[in-house]
Symmetry: C4
Subunit: 339 residues, 4 copies
Amino acid sequence: MSDTPAPVCAEDYLELAQRRLAPDVAAYLFGGAEAELAARRNREALDAATLIPRFVRETPPAPPNGPTLFGRRHASPLLLAPIAHQRLFHPDGEAASVLAALAQGVTPIVSSLASTPWPQLRQLAEDEALWFQIYWQGDRAATERLIERAAALRPEAWMITLDAPIGGLRWRLWRSGFRLPPQAVPANLEAQAPTQRTHDLAALLALAPTHDDLAWLRDRLRQPLLAKGVLHEADAEALARLGYDGLVVSNHGGRTFDAAPASLTQLEPIARAVGEKMTVLFDGGVRRGSDVAKALAQGASAVLVGRPYVAALALEGAHGVARCLRLLRDEYAAVAALL
Amino acid sequence: MSDTPAPVCAEDYLELAQRRLAPDVAAYLFGGAEAELAARRNREALDAATLIPRFVRETPPAPPNGPTLFGRRHASPLLLAPIAHQRLFHPDGEAASVLAALAQGVTPIVSSLASTPWPQLRQLAEDEALWFQIYWQGDRAATERLIERAAALRPEAWMITLDAPIGGLRWRLWRSGFRLPPQAVPANLEAQAPTQRTHDLAALLALAPTHDDLAWLRDRLRQPLLAKGVLHEADAEALARLGYDGLVVSNHGGRTFDAAPASLTQLEPIARAVGEKMTVLFDGGVRRGSDVAKALAQGASAVLVGRPYVAALALEGAHGVARCLRLLRDEYAAVAALL
Amino acid sequence: MSDTPAPVCAEDYLELAQRRLAPDVAAYLFGGAEAELAARRNREALDAATLIPRFVRETPPAPPNGPTLFGRRHASPLLLAPIAHQRLFHPDGEAASVLAALAQGVTPIVSSLASTPWPQLRQLAEDEALWFQIYWQGDRAATERLIERAAALRPEAWMITLDAPIGGLRWRLWRSGFRLPPQAVPANLEAQAPTQRTHDLAALLALAPTHDDLAWLRDRLRQPLLAKGVLHEADAEALARLGYDGLVVSNHGGRTFDAAPASLTQLEPIARAVGEKMTVLFDGGVRRGSDVAKALAQGASAVLVGRPYVAALALEGAHGVARCLRLLRDEYAAVAALL
Amino acid sequence: MSDTPAPVCAEDYLELAQRRLAPDVAAYLFGGAEAELAARRNREALDAATLIPRFVRETPPAPPNGPTLFGRRHASPLLLAPIAHQRLFHPDGEAASVLAALAQGVTPIVSSLASTPWPQLRQLAEDEALWFQIYWQGDRAATERLIERAAALRPEAWMITLDAPIGGLRWRLWRSGFRLPPQAVPANLEAQAPTQRTHDLAALLALAPTHDDLAWLRDRLRQPLLAKGVLHEADAEALARLGYDGLVVSNHGGRTFDAAPASLTQLEPIARAVGEKMTVLFDGGVRRGSDVAKALAQGASAVLVGRPYVAALALEGAHGVARCLRLLRDEYAAVAALL
């Protein structure tokens, strides 16, 4: 990468962005919680995982196709992770990433904290499927209003984030002096909560959905519903009992809870526990074709891609997102062919 | 930290102090024994430990409160480790750290080697609880005199240090040319022993309390009595049999015995062995909110904080100690909320 | 190596080549797939392996001789790995390496992609044994034509490469701007396929031989037939059932599939599974005498040497290849004597 | 060490010597075989080992004394490893190290390859005990003549080195251009063999003693006889059956066989296997007081110290050796007291 800025693989966008983004924006995109150990664990677990290829089979496997999720066939095992505030990275923000993802056959998961109006995203997407990510709004009434507004997106599936009831202890970000610029604030929420730095425990805990809230949410929505941020088998089984259709094994990219294990470490036990009952997705450090293959081999049906496409968005807008996703999809295809 | 000197987390005080303290004082504060492997093991064990958060519980856990130790409820699971010679770091020495800790609801453990007169500390603390750390004085008569003088502190609990009968092989310190300045010598002891560098084995061993001495001490004191520096389950069980009320799993911050395992490695087996009979505390490299959570998850009721608050004392006096403890307490609250 | 360019061990050629080769040629020789983790795993596994020497035996072992492979005694346990395009590295290309290897008693495995006409290599080798490496040509007819042309080499044994049906994701190479120069293109193939960068999965998979193709190949050839690139025990057992005479445990030097485990990790289980039925060879990072001893101790009959001799070829032509192989053979002899 | 040249611990002599010795002499002293992995394994195993101190015992242990080896009480658990060619490092050579060691109560093991006449060493030692290290001289007759000449030393015990039948593949040394200067050649051998770089396997193997040779040697000598360089339990048991009195677990400091495991890794199984029948000593990277304690905890009766005292000899002659040994003995005493 030192000589040529042209990315030859999806991962290159991360390095390029680290060199070119404004320091505070880079701190926002790349920073993790506390000592950033959980983010490092994600990569270490992926790097350490191996796959043993087979070349001599009496019945050769069918070429891997994209997965079928909730009755719809996807073109590849990639999904666009719900990243907040995308106009922070590029003026086109979520409009660029949604359009580019759809062009590559990748379903975007639109964030509660999108900086672009949801109706506009729905219009751009025409008839293509979108998913929607829910942040619990502190209580059912506020969450109900969020859902009603998000109905404008006509989500094919809903995904509630469990693992970030509060912002993490993001030292790198705080040191950078980062402030969310006006164009990147949530465009669809009732009111902007001030940046959350309180640590009153009772107040913090009150922001998270209870078990009954999660049951209410399941009843409230007719479409498939997933939970994001699951690391514990017992949580996975509780979600299955609540009737959730899927879950995302994720430690939120190491951004909130630095003591968390690597996402990959938790994937296999969770997939074994609930994989027959629920759709298990993976999120946590994916940046290479072989990462995708490793997550799939350990039980995921598809993987969420986050930082790489945002880095590409920051550098090249919609064109970058499309290129990043195409590179990653092709990398996965090549790796899958070698397996 | 390279751009801004304002600490955003408790750990920042360590880095700031390493850059700003006089080299010999930094060597005293940060140096460990021999090759400093035990100190490194402390951090490696804490960094490697993980906690799996839960988000879906039918019965949500009560928000964690500070622990109740010997009948008194503490505001947080933090205790101020007994650090000697604090006027070495700041003219206000122990007076500053005791006042700041009490202001943050953290109980200080006053050192045998405090450089501030104990009656003065008692006066500053008004009616707040203090604990007192005992260094065995070579024999019972001298230790008896120490206890009598320390009674001026009216300690709520006593804590005898077992693991530093002699000074360690502190190469970094010795190379620094460090000498204890006059204002930092023990203000409460009978006579200053010259810096201990003899290695006559019999003489060294005679300085440590015997099993009978420990039994005598238990009988001698009416208040709760803890032993600090326990790493072996058999020692923990022997202390339980002697009637000790608690113990601190600690390798003395790696300052005395470089072959010692990480404190954290020993915590869980010791807590399993005696946790129902004794109060088990943890000491050994704590500098982050997640460290506190990890020690508690492995069986500690509370943790001792040492170097971070001394670094803060050195840089900002009582104000620094208070800020450091508040940062750490808030970090822990945020981590606990995410669990 | 910093002071003197004279190699004292075979491994020195690697360092010398890394410093002296044109960057794109070095990228071709040393680059691996994706993040080059598989290549690193090869070395880490070899470095971590240990051998416990014995000095007190009632019956001393016979001095180790070169292995007997398919009825012929070899002078050492080294074989020349089939490396493509050798005129890329030196004008004398395969002619130099074949001659030098034979002079050192090492059997060369000539590549399908040799840049020197096979009849010329047969002539240079006089009556010495050569082996031939087959790349499947997409279908049986094209592979049949390859075999017919390769018959000019009168191979003592054939070796089909299983693990590189497509080129790997070789980022380092692609970034280097490498293009195969005219003098290094395959000199013996029907037509030059353009550099393979397509990732159409179905097209890629069609290039690999099926189970039936492998059976056909076995029937087609009268001489011993080995398969190269085996990492999975089940593949090894399937090859044994197909009547293959041997296999090479190899991850292709980490050049194609970055998620592959280290070759050495797979050697012992494969040797245990099929070692009595087949000749098991090893390929994967060998560059020192102790590497050879480790692979043999874990069940290989001989090892393929690749990058070291090509580095020597690049730097010193036939003379370098001969010196590199002699150094490695002598290193192995010294290590074997110490065992 | 960067500011002050005064060593505060034994290990400091290693760093000082690495900075001050002529490069080729440093290469001779510090270089290992091949990639120097075995030397690194020695240190990694010692650094990774931990000891759990005990402070609460009903029956306190007697202060550790030096061991009794073959009926004689030693002042400390240290022995001077037999290092060849000591006049390479200092004009006073073995005379300096023998005198200094005896002054510190440490028994020297005089090398077959000493550069000082053995009668002179006997004279300097007056009535103190010396041990003698035997290199097998290729056959019994030549070895018999070596023993007869070495009788001038009146060795209390003999130690035959098993693990260096040939010189190792010492790349660092060879690159340094090292040649043994005239004053450092063996002063007591029949004829100087030219530096051994041949790799004719049969010739190399013929230089090593056979099982029968080892039995002959045992019969030949009336004093205690040890074997140095044992790493395999089966060798240890064979030596016990041959009537050997002791052994040294050693990988020759990683100087001969780079695939060897760490000495420490092999110590405990060997001590368990033969510790009741034989005196088990340890050699392999010892440079700190805690290293000595770790080896003793894993079953060694005493440890051989090598490179540290030679570094001290090179820098400060007899004075340095004495200081180095006193530092190491005091370090061990302090560590033992803390246990």
